[in-house]
C-alpha cells in the first residue's frame, strides 16, 4: 500500500508540528495548510487521501472549508476528520452533518485518532465513499 497523504489544516503551527510528528511516525505523508483559502488550493493541487481539519481558521472556518470541498467534484470524495478546540456539543453534530467522518476535540486521544484514520483510509481503499450524504 502506497503511503497515504494526509492534509493537516490548522492555523496553530504547534498543532501542525505535533500532528506531523505523530502521523509521520505512523508512516503517513503529510502536507499542510494554515487557513481556509489555502486549504482548498492545496487540496486541489495535492489531492490528499484524508484531511485533518481544525474549525477555527482564518479566511473561512472549517465549516466553510467543508462546504467548499463538498461542492467541488475533485474534493468531495476526500474524507475529513475534524480536530478542534471548540466544544463538542453543537459542533460535533454540525460537523458530521456537514460531511465529516469523525469529530475529535483537542487534545485528542491519540490512539483513537490514529485508529480512526487507519479505518477511514482502509475504507477508501476498498471503494465507496464514507461520508454521509
Amino acid at each position: 500500500m502506497s503511503k497515504a497523504k494526509i492534509l493537516i489544516i490548522d492555523d496553530d503551527s504547534n498543532m501542525r508540528r505535533a500532528l506531523n510528528v505523530r502521523l509521520k511516525a505512523e508512516g503517513y505523508e503529510t502536507i499542510f495548510a494554515a487557513d481556509g483559502f489555502s486549504a482548498t488550493t492545496t487540496a486541489l493541487k495535492e489531492v490528499p487521501d484524508l484531511v485533518l481539519l481544525d474549525l477555527g481558521l482564518p479566511a473561512g472556518d472549517g465549516f466553510v472549508v467543508m462546504e467548499r470541498f463538498q461542492g467541488n467534484s475533485k474534493l468531495c470524495g476526500i474524507p475529513i476528520i475534524v480536530l478542534t478546540a471548540r466544544e463538542v456539543q453543537g459542533n460535533k453534530d454540525r460537523a458530521i452533518a456537514s460531511g465529516a467522518y469523525a469529530f475529535f476535540q483537542k487534545p485528542p486521544d491519540n490512539e483513537r485518532l490514529m485508529s480512526t484514520i487507519g479505518r477511514v483510509l482502509e475504507g477508501t481503499h476498498l471503494g465507496g465513499g464514507v461520508t454521509r450524504t
Partner: protein, 727 residues
Amino acid sequence: MLPRSRRSHANKVKRETGTERTMRSKKGQLEQDVKRKGSRVCSRLTDFEATMKAIYCGEVDGLAVDGPEGRRIFALHDPEGPYRILAERMNEGMATLSAEGIILFGNRRLGEMVGLPADRLVGFTFLSVLEEKGRPDFFELVRRGLEEDVRAEGCLLRSDGVMVPVQFSLSQISLEGSQRGLCLVVTDLSNQKKAQEELRLSQERLSGIIQSAMDGIITVDEQQNIVLFNGAAGAMLRCSAQEAVGQSIECFIPERFRAAHREHIRNFAATGITNREMGVNDALWAMRAGGEEFQIETSISKVETPDKRLFTVILRDVTARKRAEEELKQSRERQLRVKDELLSHVSHELRSPMACIHQFTTIMLDGLSGPLNSDQRENLEIILKSANQLRSMIDDLLETTRIQAGKVKLERGCVVLHDAVQEAIEMMRAEAGEKAIALQHETYGESVLVCADPHRVLQILLNLIGNALKFTGTRGWVKVKYGLDATDPTHALVSVQDNGCGIKAPAQAHVFERLFQEEASIDQGHQGLGLGLAICKELVALHRGRIWVESEPGCGSTFSFTLPVYSLDKILTPVLLENEKAPEAISLITIRVAPRPDTPSMEAWVKTRRKFVDLLHRCTLPDKDVVLPPVRRNAKGESFVIVACTDTPGAEVMIQRIKKQMKRDPEFADYGIAHIASRLLQLTRGIDKCTSKEIEALTSEITRAVSQAMDQGESTNEQSKDPDYRR
C-alpha cells in the same frame, strides 16, 4: 285715695252688711254716725292696702273703673311684653326703621352685630352701620321695601372694623301716627359664608389634585357618558375636557373592543367588587381622538352617590413601559449572547495551548522524539498529569457555565446501568490502584435500564468515584451499588460509598454548590475547582433525578443519585414529536449481530458493542432516527432495532451503509451481521397531526413490532441470509 265709686269696683268688693244697719240707733246717733263713718274708712283703707299690695306683687293685671265716660280698663302690664322678649332673645338682628331709614328701635342682637349697645343706635340712619360701597344699594332697598317685601345680601360694618356678611329682609310696617316704616331683619351669614368658602376651597383642592394627576382620570355615568375628564386624560387622548364631557367613553375605545367593554362594565356594575385592574397582563388598547391606538392599563371603581352611580376609570399609557420592557428583554438576550460568545471564545483559546502541552508531552512519552531515561519519563508524566488536571478544570468550568445557560442537551437513550458502572470502574481502576483502594461494585436485584444520556451517566459516575478516591486513604475501599430504587420503582438508584474521611455536618449542606471545597481538601492531591459535584447535581437534575449525600466524619460518605427507568416511549416520543415534517412512514430496521462461526463466544463483544452502536449512530440522523438500545443479548448474538422516519428506499440506503461500515472496520472482524432487514410501518396519518394519545398508540405499535423483530431475529439459525456473513 281712690274715690268711693271706683273703689267699690276693685277686685275685692265689700257691701254694707245688715249688721251695720241695725247698728243705727237714736241714742247717740251722732256717735254711731261717727263710729260708722270711721269704721267704714278703716275697712276701705284695709281694702286699699290689700289691693295696693296685690298690684305691687304683680297679681293684678288690670283695673276696671267706671267713670263718667263709662267703664275703662287700665292694663297694669305691658301688652307687648312677650313680643319684646322674643325680639330680645332672637338670633337675628331686628330693627324698626323710619321711611328714611332711621333706626327707631334695634334689638340686642343687632347691637351685638354692629358692636354697639342697641339703644345707642336709635336715631341714626341705618346706612351708618353699613359698609360704604353697600350704602347706595341699601338705600334703594329701603325704597323698594316700602312697596313690597324685599331681601338682599350686604355687609355690616362692625365697630371694630370687621365686615360682617348679612342678609337683609325688609317689610313695611305702620308706625304711630299712621307713618310708614320698615321692619328690618338682619341675618348673620358669617358661618354660612365660611362654610361656603371652605367648600369652595376643598373643591378647588380636589379639582387641583385631579387635574394635576399624571394618570388620566375619567368618570362616567351608568350610560357611559363622560362626567369628569382630567388634564392627563386629555393629554393622553388628545381631547379637551370640554369636548369630552358629555360624550360616551366608547369614542376612546377602538371599535373591536367596544362590545367586550360594554359587557365588562355590565358585569362590573353587577358585582360588588369596587376595583378592577385591567390590561396588566393582557394588552388593552385605547384610541386617541384621531384614531391612533395605544396600549393602556386601567383600573375601574364604582361610586354610589345618592342620586346616581358613577364609575371612575384611571388610565395609564403604558406604551413607554412596554417599550422599556421589550428593550430590557432584548438587552438581556444580547447579554446572554455575548456571554455565550465569550464562553466559546475562551473555550477555544484555553484549549489550544493546553492541547499543545498534551500533544508534545505524549509525543515525547511515546518515544517519538527520541529515547527517554526514567527521570525524563517521570517528569514528563507529571507534566501530563497536570495538563490533564488543567484540562479537566477547564472542562468543568465551561460545563457548569453551559448548564447554567441552558445550553446542555441530553441525548437520552437506554443505558444498561451495569455497563455504565462497569465502564466507569474500568476507567478509574488505575487511579484506585495508585492508592491501593479496592474498587468494588454490587447490584441489588435485576439489571436495570435507565433512560439517560450515556455520556452524562458516565460523567456523573466518574466524578463521584473520583471524589471517593480523592477523599479515601490508602487501602480503603469504594463501592458502587446500583439497582432499582426500592422506594420508587420508576427510578433506579446508584450509590458510591467510601470509607474515607467523610464530610463534616455543616459542610454537607454545601457540597453540591459551585466552587465549594472543604478546607481540609485543599492539598496537593485534591486540586480542583470544586465544580464536580455541582455539575453532577445539574446533570442529575436534567435527567429529572435526585442526588444527595449521607456522611459521617471519620467513617466515610455515600453519594446517591436516582435516574428514571427506561421505557421505550420515553425515547421515541421526543423524536416523533420533534419532527417538523410529517414522515409518510416509519421503518423498523432490525439487525442481528452474531459471532462468526469460528469465533468462540460473545464475551469479547462487550467491548466492541459500544463501537457498533456508535457505528449505527453514525449511519442515522439523530433527529429523525432512533437507534433503540440493545436489550436482547445472548450467546448467539445481539439484536438491534432502528426506528427510522423514512420509507423503504431510505431504509435500504441505511442498511447498505451499515453493512459497508461494518465490513470496513477491522474492529468487527470477529462478528458479522447475521440478519438485517427493514419493515415498513404504515401510519394512518402524519405525525404532526397526532395527538399525544395517538403518539402513545404509535409507540406501543412500534414496541410490539420491535419485539416481533427481535423474536424473528433470534429464531434465525446459523444459516444466515446475509451472504457477507460467511467470509
